[in-house]
Symmetry: C2
Subunit: 341 residues, 2 copies
DNA sequence: CTGAAAGCGCTTACAG
DNA sequence: CTGAAAGCGCTTACAG
């Protein structure tokens, strides 16, 4: 059946069915009943199509209909619980609604992000969702100029509606949880250290505010040096903590599972004192509950975020507001002890 | 600049530049020097395009050129170190070579896989790479009938060339590592248990063969009941081990990080005896080195696999052979002890 | 009940 | 140096 030469078109089918290309077209795209084409012809065409392995040339079809059906998404990473899940759910939802999802992973590189956006615009995407984009406004401005709708997810922008996690509240809750556990289990109350992320990043700064608010509420002062927003990498987190050899109790607010990796590495490398360390992490990883000292993690509500984002697709005249989605806090039971020796 | 109505076309540009659409087209697609269009006109057109925020309608352009530039990939999950990395590298490589990568996540669902393949064929993808597909041959047969090239990655098929990891050898090495460590650290020699995966799955069965070969080489018999290929889920792995309360030393070959989660959960839940457990995992996770009892992990060589796969793209008359890519084995240093009480 | 015709936005031989 | 024309494979008012 392999037809290397030319693929079957509606013209081929028309010839075989002894009908016009128009009739074939409408049979194939399901409008034949409306056009009152005889069931007999319709069936003949459909079985011929099957037989010839015909598949519509979507490129041509959509060009003619001046649509693309493409829903674009830009995402920093796949290899990440949070963004991986976002991409997966986005695809499933888009597909369920009849769109053709095209997701592109841009590695947090602003230029790659913009290139990907341009490409998606060239394909005349119906809408572009920028997830965790480093420069969402640049993308929105470009989309806007080309008449393509854009929506921000995870990280907000000012030129398009944004659906983001309620970082402030979740960070405050997580801070409270860690402080409570330090008090209960170690008889010690803060201040905690804040490790990971970048202060210039909206989410990190919102989380830091929540972190500080909870300390303030409890009357605990946080020294400036306790804020270690050293970026997104396990190495940097480990380096930031390298000089920290706690003699007594200590607590850490870990910003993102990427930083968590560094914190755990530091923790398991401590000569002693590790048993009196408690930490919690903003973001979720299945190995989290198994890490000694980890008292809880925040899980962002991906489904809720996407549901809200999809509600905005196709809507015009939207305000560029921020929609805040609450997160879930997962406290873990009794802390596991650290490795011996 | 927002043009909600109609997007700028080459005809608009032609009018503004007082030139023909043909000239504009060739300026815009870079063939103007070949067509010996005056630099003056070219520059006029280009600045007008810039000014009008023109972006070529790729749909129309590619339809005319009877190409799609699309390179399709089907992948089971994004939210997974291994497949997430494959998707990321695939995209970067495809883009670097001038393709438009479209990757689709199909959740190990055979029907979804097939639907996605059909969709990609409708878009006239130049080539479709099926990664970890449950039924690669069904996809290859369909692609073949439509004149679309297909390549299998990770899981082999018989109707298209396959690039896969050398599961057998890596499993044998990992088995050897675990057995060595058990002997050295616990003074005990096997047999190990094999946990996770499905025997019907090519990779699991190749790994099991390597596992058994290493035991055979050392003259260690493996009881049938030690093979617990219970599928791909943390729960199932944990359930399979639920009745296993080792009194003395024991060792486990963990098939996939998904199962690892279950094994670690089981391990950390043991009332006692956990200190004399050693395991290793086929597949890589950054938290791996931090898990007590974990002596090493296998990392599949994603870059090498993709490099080989890309070499096949566009090649015709390929045999449907299997290309085996060696894996890397990462031994971890001294085992960490388990949690206390 | 069905077909001829125009057109989606491009590209590219062909003819000056 | 440049334009008119045909055509990629479809869809859809329009006219019977």
């Amino acid at each position: 059946m392999s037809k290397d030469a030319k693929r079957t078109t509606i013209y081929d089918l028309a010839k075989l069915a002894e009908a016009s290309p128009s009739a074939v077209s409408s049979v194939l795209n399901g409008t034949w009943e409306k056009r009152r084409i005889s069931r007999k012809l319709a069936e003949r065409v459909m079985s011929l199509a099957e037989e010839q392995g015909y598949s519509v040339n979507v490129q041509a079809s959509l060009l003619r209909r001046e649509r693309s059906n493409i829903l674009g998404m830009i995402v920093p990473k796949y290899d990440n619980r949070y963004f991986g899940k976002i991409a997966e759910e986005f695809e499933a939802t888009a597909r369920a609604r009849g769109f053709f999802p095209v997701v592109t992973c841009t590695q947090r590189d602003p230029d790659l992000e913009f290139e990907a956006a341009k490409e998606l615009v060239s394909y005349r995407a119906e809408c572009l969702i920028s997830t965790g984009a480093t420069d969402p406004d640049r993308i929105s401005a470009f989309c806007d100029a080309s008449g393509v709708q854009s929506i921000n997810l995870d990280l907000p922008g000012t030129l398009a509606p944004s659906v983001i996690s309620d970082n402030y509240s979740a960070a405050q809750e997580l801070t409270g949880l860690i402080l409570d556990r330090c008090e209960k289990e170690l008889g010690w109350s803060g201040p905690l250290r804040f490790v990971g992320g970048r202060l210039a990043d909206h989410n990190t700064s919102a989380r830091l505010e929540g972190f500080l608010a909870e300390h303030r509420k409890r009357g605990i002062a946080v020294p400036q040096s306790y804020i270690m927003a050293t970026g997104y990498s396990a190495e940097k987190a480990a380096i930031a903590l390298a000089d920290f050899h706690p003699e007594g109790p200590a607590g850490i607010f870990v910003n993102s599972t990427i930083s968590l990796e560094g914190v755990v590495r530091w923790h398991s490398g401590l000569a002693r004192g590790g048993d009196e360390i408690r930490y919690g992490c903003f973001d979720w990883d299945p190995f989290g509950p198994l890490l000694p000292g980890n008292v809880g993690m925040v899980e962002q509500d991906v489904s809720a975020m996407l549901t809200r984002a999809f509600e905005l697709i196709g809507k015009t005249d939207l305000s560029h507001e921020q929609v805040l989605i609450p997160c879930k806090l997962w406290p873990f039971q009794a802390p596991l002890a650290r490795r011996e020796g």
